[in-house]
Each structure stands twice: as structure tokens, then as C-alpha cells.
């Protein structure tokens, strides 16, 4: 008997009696006991039938994490998180546990779906309603997989990739965000449960946009999601993360890791729309979102583009970054962060220029309403070898009302005299004149606000894939509801 399964058996025999959902039974619903320790990690690894090297990697991360401190430099405040008071493994819930019909779903959630124009069967799917005939999505997903396979593209849950493509996963996992990177990434490395794996072979242009949306009915990826995308030489992929409609989610803490690897002449376009529960008007509830996203442009002429629309979560801590190592590589960051009520967002990017003639563009738009706080925090660093490096940064903040805050914290480090760095920043308030002008033309307060804010975000929204952009525009209006006037 292997070390791993032996441990799992021991754990389960101890815990089996105490916990109703003890983890030996092979039913739909499984929950490891609360808390975090090496046995839990061994259990997760065993459950996923992982190879020894991955378990070792998880354990190294865990031991490292024990010595780390939660970062406190971000401009966000939240009650202390008790990491021992959380579940780290929950298998997908059985369908019977979910709502039986839309009648049992939070009407507020349904109202949002309606406003976004989400079709009924998709509403059920998003709200976690037990839907027996898994309707279109199966056929969509199947045809989709066939077409991808023809092109040689691998797109699957990362747990499956660990089994099916161990050489690729072992080579690249943790190569961009090492297990020791930061408090949350290290925690993720120890306990990640699932996520996506994408490999685009040499010279292949991925025939379609890859979206996590297609994976929605697969395993609940949980709060510690891990994504790894490898774009081999001369390949291209556009990846869409999330979905504009809020999903039913019972986990308060999310700590995801996304790693992108780009070889020579490869290009990745990564788009995110994040619309998790932001908490109520008084700041109760809401998701804490602590994400580490990083792209390594290892090859010459490679290009990565991050586009994010962040409207949800109570607390957002997120800095999608680019390591521009290959000569002539390009990094782009387009961001819209909207905060309302008591939401807090501390977000931005890091552009690390290492290779020659590397260039980066940062366009960040922050919109604050209610009593919220929005911070742009960004680092642009030109290493000594970044001959001819260029960066252009534009940070614009828009304030709605007089109780919110917008902050810009740029860090600029230049160690190469031939590099050029530009930084522009503006702060504006939506004027009463603008609202009056729009209303005189027949728009309601909220329509006017939504239109003005969408105009302000246009530079970023136009970077999103078309069908995503349309929903994102509606979402901008919905997130600001109640902040007009």
C-alpha cells in the first residue's frame, strides 16, 4: 500500500465516525474535516490520485506557508481570516443538495440574470439548480472538444492533465508562480483542488476562444483554483475566464493562481470578468478574492494581454503580471475595477522588463461609488538588460458621490538608461451637468450613469471579445445600481 493511500485510510478511519460526510464513502457529497494540516493535503492528493512528485510539491508549499505571514500592505481591510476554520476539500455537491428550481433561488440573483439577458436554462445552470438533462452544454462541449483535439489543443481540468499529460504539467507547474511565491499562492499550491490546463502546440492558432464557461457543469473548481496555460512556439490562444453572471458560491475565501507560459512568437489573450458576490450594502458577506496571476514571456516576440473587468467581490487583491524575458516581448494590461457600497479593490499589474526591446502598456480604469475604496497599484521595472524597453501607463479614476476613494500607487524602477517609461494619471468626478444633460434627453439616472461609466471604460471594454463585451457593458450598469443621485 502506498504511503498516500495509507495515510488517507488512517485519516478516514479516525474521522469517519465523527463527520457525517466522512471522506471514505464514495458518494456525491464529500467534505474533508475543517482545518488544514499535512493529512488533509495528503487526502486531497490521494483523492485526486496524484503522483508522488505533486504531493511532495504540495507539502513543501504547506510547510513554507506555515512560516509565512499574511500580507498587509494592500489598501484593504477585512476581519482576520481563521484558516483553520475552513474546509479545504469538498467534492462536487450532489444535485439533490442544490435548489430544486429557480423558485428556491435568491430573487436578487435572478433579477441580475434577467437584466443580463441570460436564457432560462443557463440561469438554472448558474444558480446550481439540479438540471437532469444536461441539455445543450454537453453537445456543445463535445463538439468543442473534438474540434480542439483535431488541432492538437489540450483543454481539460488540471487534475486530468496531471494524469494524462504529466510531463507537461511537471515541467511548467509552479515555473511562473513558484510554490513559495506569496502567502496566498503558497496556500493555493498546497491545497488547490482543480482548475484548467491548456496546451497549444507549436504553430497552432487555437480554432476557438476557450472559455471556463464550457466547464461550468464539471467539477466545482472550488475556492483554490489553479490554471496553467502553455503556448508553444508560434501559437495563439484567447482564453475567457469566468462569466458575467454571478454564480452561486458558498466559499468566502478565494485564492486562485493562474500561470501563463509563452514560448517564441506565442500569443495569449486572457480575459476575465469577475462578478462574485460583493456583499450587501452594509458590507456583510461577500467574497474575498486574493489572486496571483502571472505570465512569463519566455520566448522572443511573445505577447501577452490581460484584460480584466472586476465588479464583484467584497475584497479584491489582484495583480496580473508580465515577465518580459524574451527579446521584443510585449505585455499588456487593460483593467476596469468598479467598487460600490463597501467594496474594496486593490488591483494593478507588474511589468518586469528583462529582455531587450520589450514593451508594455497599462490602461487601468477605476470607478468608485458608495463608500468604496479603489486602489491601482502597479510596478514597472526595467532590469539592466532591458535595452530599449518601453512602458506606457495610463491610470484614470472616476468618482461617483463624495464618500468613496480612489488611490493610485505606481512603483517605477528603471535600471537601464535607454528605457522609456511614461505614466499618466487622471481623477474625475461624474458631474451633475453630465447627468442633467443625459436626463434631459430622456435617460433615467441609472441609464445615464451606466452610459457615462461605460464611456469612461471604453478603452478597456473594447479589448474584450465581442460577446463578452456586450455583457460586460450591461454589468457595469448593474454594479453601479443605487449609486446615482
Amino acid at each position: 500500500m502506498s504511503y498516500t493511500s495509507e495515510t488517507a485510510d488512517q485519516v478516514s478511519s479516525i474521522a469517519g465516525d465523527k463527520y457525517k460526510y466522512g471522506f471514505v464513502t464514495d458518494i456525491d457529497t464529500e467534505l474533508a474535516p475543517k482545518g488544514l494540516n499535512e493529512d488533509i493535503i495528503r487526502f486531497i492528493s490521494a483523492k485526486k490520485e496524484e503522483p508522488e512528485w505533486l504531493l511532495e510539491w504540495r507539502l513543501r508549499a504547506y510547510r513554507r506557508w506555515l512560516q509565512m505571514e499574511e500580507p498587509s500592505w494592500a489598501k484593504v481591510e477585512y476581519p482576520e481570516i481563521d484558516f483553520q476554520d475552513a474546509y479545504y476539500y469538498a467534492a462536487p455537491k450532489s444535485k439533490e443538495d442544490g435548489p430544486k428550481s429557480l423558485d428556491e433561488v435568491d430573487p436578487e440573483l435572478l433579477r441580475t440574470y434577467e437584466k443580463l439577458g441570460i436564457p432560462l436554462h443557463e440561469q438554472q445552470m448558474l444558480a446550481g439548480v439540479a438540471v437532469d438533462a444536461v441539455f445543450d452544454s454537453v453537445s456543445v462541449a463535445t463538439t468543442f472538444r473534438k474540434e480542439l483535439a483535431k488541432a492538437g489543443v489540450i483543454f481539460c481540468p488540471i487534475s486530468e492533465a496531471v494524469r494524462e499529460h504529466p510531463e507537461l504539467v511537471q515541467k511548467y507547474l509552479g515555473s511562473v508562480v513558484p510554490y513559495s511565491d506569496n502567502f496566498y499562492a503558497t496556500l493555493n499550491s498546497a491545497v488547490f483542488t482543480d482548475g484548467s490546463f491548456v496546451y497549444i502546440p507549436k504553430g497552432v492558432r487555437c480554432p476557438m476562444e476557450l472559455s471556463t464557461y464550457f466547464r461550468i457543469n464539471q467539477a466545482n473548481t472550488g475556492q483554490f483554483e489553479r490554471t496553467l496555460i502553455v503556448a508553444d512556439e508560434g501559437s495563439y490562444v484567447s482564453y475567457l475566464e469566468g462569466c458575467t453572471a454571478p454564480q452561486r458560491d458558498e466559499n468566502q475565501l478565494h485564492a486562485a493562481v493562474v500561470e501563463l507560459v509563452l514560448l517564441d512568437d506565442a500569443e495569449i489573450k486572457y480575459s476575465t470578468v469577475q462578478n462574485w458576490y460583493p456583499g450587501d450594502e452594509n458590507g456583510n458577506g461577500g467574497i474575498y478574492n486574493f489572486v496571483t496571476k502571472r505570465a512569463a514571456c519566455r520566448g522572443r516576440n511573445s505577447k501577452v494581454s490581460w484584460t480584466q473587468v472586476e465588479t464583484g467581490s467584497a475584497v479584491t487583491w489582484k495583480y496580473p503580471s508580465c515577465i518580459l524575458q524574451g527579446d521584443n516581448s510585449i505585455g499588456e494590461f487593460y483593467s476596469v475595477a468598479i467598487t460600490n457600497n463597501l467594496q474594496q479593490a486593490d488591483t494593478g499589474t507588474k511589468m518586469i522588463h528583462i529582455g531587450e526591446n520589450t514593451s508594455s502598456t497599462i490602461i487601468a480604469k477605476g470607478i468608485s461609488a458608495g463608500r468604496s475604496q479603489s486602489t491601482y497599484r502597479g510596478l514597472v521595472r526595467m532590469q539592466p538588460g532591458a535595452k530599449g524597453g518601453r512602458n506606457y501607463t495610463q491610470c484614470d479614476s472616476l468618482l461617483i458621490g463624495d464618500k468613496c476613494g480612489a488611490h493610485t500607487v505606481p512603483y517605477i524602477e528603471n535600471r537601464n538608461r535607454t528605457a522609456q517609461i511614461e505614466h499618466e494619471a487622471t481623477t474625475a468626478k461624474i458631474s451633475e451637468d453630465q447627468l442633467f444633460y443625459c436626463r434631459q434627453r430622456g435617460l433615467s439616472d441609472e441609464e445615464a450613469l451606466s452610459m457615462i461609466v461605460n464611456g469612461f471604460c471604453k478603452q478597456v471594454l473594447q479589448e474584450l471579445p465581442m460577446e463578452f463585451a456586450v455583457e460586460a457593458q450591461k454589468l457595469v450598469g448593474i454594479s453601479l445600481e443605487g449609486s446615482a443621485g
Binding site: Y437, Q440, R441, G442, M451, I452, G455
Partner: protein, 251 residues
């Protein structure tokens, strides 16, 4: 169409309008002239319901309804249009998007079907051609980087699309050279009709050479000091406002 009786209005607690009586019939074009600070713009904002312009006494009846019951956008939907003296910039909002959103917002409130992109563009084309508005202007942010003439033509375009019953044009002539003035005036004249009334606010008689009013009123110190036919404008041009602003200087 519009009946104003004993209208008093405050801005920041200061009384600006001090008892205005004005009656505008269907299809009539009235001009209001007066020196700076006489309350011309205040009147236009009170009619459109802007926050901060408080009616303290008197009534405004519009097509049989008490206007005070209606919000800004409801008045717009009921067919009240204000052509702004200083049209406001909306960066990033393309003029086409703005026009379509506004027209559909008004149509929705009027219980009409919203127009899809094709129907809207068809309708838009008719008016842009007449007002010599380029595609480039429609693509740019609303009023952003527009010349004075472009801004005013854009106002008239909005008026043409929204088909109001009653339009207030606040100093539409300001900032225009004579050629631009002619284009704008032609646009306004094309919209005159038996069912549409207008209130043209101006400092100068010049505009009234092109948009010929049925009646002219002189506003001074928050009251209508004199009313008459179009010849009153000529008299004003000759004698100045001095004769009406008796004794004290205009604020």
C-alpha cells in the same frame, strides 16, 4: 401648449424669477431676450426640472398637466427639449450610442417600440444629411473636441430625432460665426410646425433675423418687462436693454 402663471423660483436660496406670466400656444415661436443675469437660463432649467432650481410660487401647466409632478426624464418623454447653451461633453460615449440610447429611452416612456440599429441608422441619416453632420462626428465622444458650430448642430440633431412638442433653445447663437448660425437656424426652421412650439432665448436680435419669432418678450430682473411682436426685437437692438432695466444694473 404652455401656461406659466406667477412663477417664482430660487437658486441657492436666492430668488431669480420673480413672478413670470407667459402663455405659449401650439405652433408658436416665442423669443425671450434680456441682459445677463435677468433669469433667462434659470427659466430654461426650471422648465426642464433641473435639481437646485426650486419653484417657490406659481404654476407651469404643459399640455394640460402640472409640470411639477414630472421628473427631468419624464418631461423629456412628454416632449420638452432643452437645447443647451453649453452642451456637455461625455468622453468615450459615441454620439451614435448617445442618440440611440436617448431616442429609445424616450420611445420606451412613450410606449413606442424601441428602434433596432438598422431602423435607427436610417432615421439618423436623414437628419445628419440635412445638418451636414459627418460620420466622424458621430463616432467621436459626445461634444468632445467639437467646435462651437458642431456642438450646436449636434443639439439640433438631437432635437430633430427626439421630435419634441416644446423646445427651449438657450442661446443657441452663442459661439457661432455667421455661416454656422445660418446652418443652425435653417435646422431649427425645418423643425417648425403647427404642432411644435419653441422658446428661443437670446441676447441678440441677430438670431431672430433667421429664426423669426411670433412673439418677443423682454426679461429683466426676473420678470417679463415687455412683450410684443417681432418688431420689438428691432427696437431693443436700437435702444439697448437700458430702457427696460430701469435704474439698477443687471446682476
Amino acid at each position: 401648449m404652455l401656461e406659466i402663471k406667477g412663477l417664482h423660483a430660487d437658486v441657492d436660496g436666492k430668488e431669480i424669477l420673480k413672478g413670470i406670466d407667459l402663455s405659449i400656444g401650439e405652433g408658436e415661436v416665442h423669443a425671450i431676450m434680456g441682459p445677463n443675469g435677468s433669469g433667462k437660463s434659470t427659466l430654461s432649467y426650471v422648465l426642464s426640472g433641473r435639481d437646485g432650481y426650486d419653484v417657490t410660487a406659481g404654476t407651469i401647466t404643459y399640455r394640460g398637466r402640472d409640470l411639477s409632478e414630472l421628473s427631468i426624464e419624464e418631461r423629456a418623454a412628454e416632449g420638452i427639449f432643452l437645447g443647451f447653451q453649453y452642451p456637455v461633453e461625455l468622453p468615450g460615449v459615441s454620439s451614435t450610442t448617445f442618440l440611440k440610447t436617448a431616442l429609445n429611452a424616450v420611445r420606451r416612456q412613450r410606449g413606442q417600440d424601441e428602434l433596432d440599429a438598422v431602423q435607427f441608422m436610417k432615421r439618423l441619416r436623414v437628419h445628419t444629411k440635412a445638418l451636414n453632420i459627418s460620420d466622424d462626428m458621430l463616432r467621436r465622444g459626445v461634444n468632445v473636441g467639437f467646435s462651437g458650430g458642431e456642438k450646436k448642430r449636434n443639439e439640433i440633431l438631437q432635437m430633430a430625432l427626439l421630435e419634441p412638442h416644446f423646445a427651449v433653445l438657450d442661446e443657441t447663437d452663442s459661439g457661432l460665426d455667421i455661416d454656422a448660425l445660418k446652418v443652425v437656424a435653417e435646422g431649427v426652421n425645418a423643425l417648425r410646425g403647427p404642432k411644435r412650439s419653441m422658446l428661443v432665448i437670446t441676447h441678440y436680435q441677430r438670431l431672430l433675423d433667421y429664426i423669426v419669432p411670433d412673439y418677443v418678450h423682454v426679461l429683466a430682473h426676473g420678470r417679463i418687462a415687455r412683450s410684443g411682436g417681432k418688431e420689438l426685437a428691432l427696437e431693443l437692438e436700437e435702444k439697448g436693454y437700458g430702457a427696460f432695466v430701469s435704474g439698477t444694473e443687471a446682476a
